[in-house]
Amino acid sequence: RLRQSLLGRLPGLSNARRLLSAPPSGMPPDDEKPMFPGSRSSFTTQLDFIHPENFEGIPVYRLVNRRGDLVDGAPEPTLAGNKDLCLQVYETMLQLNIMDKILYDSQRQGRISFYMTSFGEEGIVANAAALNPNDLVFCQYRESGVLMQRGMELERFMDQCYSNDSDMNRGRQMPVHYGSKDHSFVTVSSPLATQMPQASGAAYAFKRMQNGLCVVCYFGDGSASEGDAHAALNFAATLDCPVMFVCRNNGYAISTPTSDQYRGDGIAIRGPAFGIPTVRVDGNDVFALYEVTQQARQLCLTEMRPTLIEMMTYRLGHHSTSDDSSAYRSVDELSFWDREDNPIIRMRKFLTKRGWWSDEQETATKQAIRKRVLQKFAQAEKRLKPNPMEMFSDVWARMPPRLRQQMEDTRRHLEAETSHYPELKNYKPIADVE
């Protein structure tokens, strides 16, 4: 009676009340099933540690092999049923690759301060192609392919790299830190994995808005070690957030190989640990990527929960222009992936075998792209930098008096000492801003 009266005062424990005070017949005695809060499993007398090395890794979903052939027994990929989309995806990957080459070289020539390429990971274009253009994207820094697939103009990429007066970020950020409201692509920030819990939160808001959209969050194998990554997955799962987490596992975090980054079965194994439906995919197979992205998006939106995609790939380029990867990986390793297994070469083989592409088209298309990129590049290079007083706006929504004073002091200083700031001739005229 005491037990019942105690339970009676605690709402939500009706299950326990039933189990503890139920009649002997019809209910299991309490030593047959664990009753700890949240318990789902059974008791065992077998003392077995789970040895993670005994588990074969989560398999890699792939449809088209390195030779550009549909794998035996594989279903016809959805993307392969759309020739126009295939060619558009392929050309976008080529454009990304060519723009990367030109901008990388421009940094070596001292024209821009810094650059990061997407070499080997252009397949991300196919992943973006399977999204709704209004799905909000949070990314790390090696996802320019998503923005390009969404249609951001070539010159916008270069304006940002040049920090000129047409830069969407108003000259405030290092190159490749793109962002675009119009393309639902949240501005890149250098700190790693910080975007991940933000993506969970944005997805929660989308769920409440019932707007039929999901949030997509890209991150790398290295970023997945950050605390923010774990918090993001846990929050997304417990709060039922329609966010698609996409991990670009490209084998390296600058010089740190994945063997130094984690001991478990990559990032995919962590998904189920957090209660998240997960798949591992060949990130160099655009057809598999497209399929997986479509399915993941569907799952996110019909079940209102997160998904995790680990796309296995390889970083062909250096981490950035500040890195020389020959210091930590072999030429042999690099040349294998460069020659045999990257998204562009594998899709090219498939398209050619289908009769949708040819060597002549390859040459002509690349030439046309190169010409276009160089033209936009030249334009971006000529543009002036923003009015230096733009350094002071957008810190707060409205400039507080103290900051306004700093702006005015700076303007007066520059006006008085113009001869000591010869670089001012490359900037728009100095003028106070709001």
Partner: protein
Amino acid sequence: CRSLAARLGPVCLDAASFSRRRLSFGPQFVYTPESADKSLGETSRMNLFQAVTSALDNTLANDPSAVVFGEDVAFGGVFRCTVGLKDKYGKDRVFNTPLSEQGIVGFAIGHAVAGATTVAEIQFGDYIFPAFDQIANEASKYRYRSGNHFNCGSLTVRAPIGAVGHGALYHSQSPEGFFAHLPGIKVVIPRGPIQAKGLLLACINDPDPCFYFEPKILYRSAVEDVPVNGYVLPIGKAEVLIEGSDVTLIGYGTQVHVLREVARLAQSELGVSCELIDMRTILPFDEETVYASVCKTGRCLIAHEAPLTGGFGAELAASVQEHCFLNLEAPVRRVAGHDTPFPHIFENFYLPHQRRCLAAIKDLIGY
């Protein structure tokens, strides 16, 4: 206690010596209730945590996008600031998060980036530090770095701060100094229930991410007749609570009430007339009010619980001496927590209490 002492024999101290040795773990000031502007309408007796609940209630009622979350928020919160809100507005709007401050603030930033009104709670200001990367590197820079394409202005983060009598290192901290150093955010600290509700609503409606720190000792001890409807008080504006002519006293949060006492004692013991300013907003702070006051009085005493070195008082002191130099009769003084972690049994010797502040005023007058 006396009869217990008798039963236990000589081992137990006698009652008289026991009461002499009994230490006080409570607040060392008297709270002076204020009254709200009549134009704000009907009021209800509320303590500070109830004023917070009222502000959140108004917000959830009027803004369908608004949500409130944090650890233990659903059942009402460890300081009862969210009592009744889940039942009234539903668990999709008032909810618990997993135990992760970096997750709470990161999630909150993203929720705000999506355009929804977001009020996140950090259970103790002492535990805000795991979220500092999200605050410093993300929230404060979101608008600037994106050329205003994106922002998290609809974010407000609330956390209890300050001495509570027995909190020691990890339940007493005042972290506002760290946040004062982050252009792009706002930092607000109320001194009582009426201020709390108006300033919290102002933060929630502010277009910048706001960090709102609630002096936890005032949750129960500060009680006023607070308007039941919504109203806002200005962010970025300090308030002169007592006008005076000899010394400017500057504080915020709990310290304002200590300084009220100090002003009274300065008058009665020293014949000194003090002007009392409550900063209310730490960032961006109200320079105009501060400089006008110190230029008038010629003497400035800044007091805060947070440790002395690098505390917010240092910024105020530097700015005051820069702008009021020729009007100063004495150096700008700060009375603050010592440069130690916040101690347990030594709290009464650590805090910038009345006697320490009064001693500083004596120095200022006699300089």
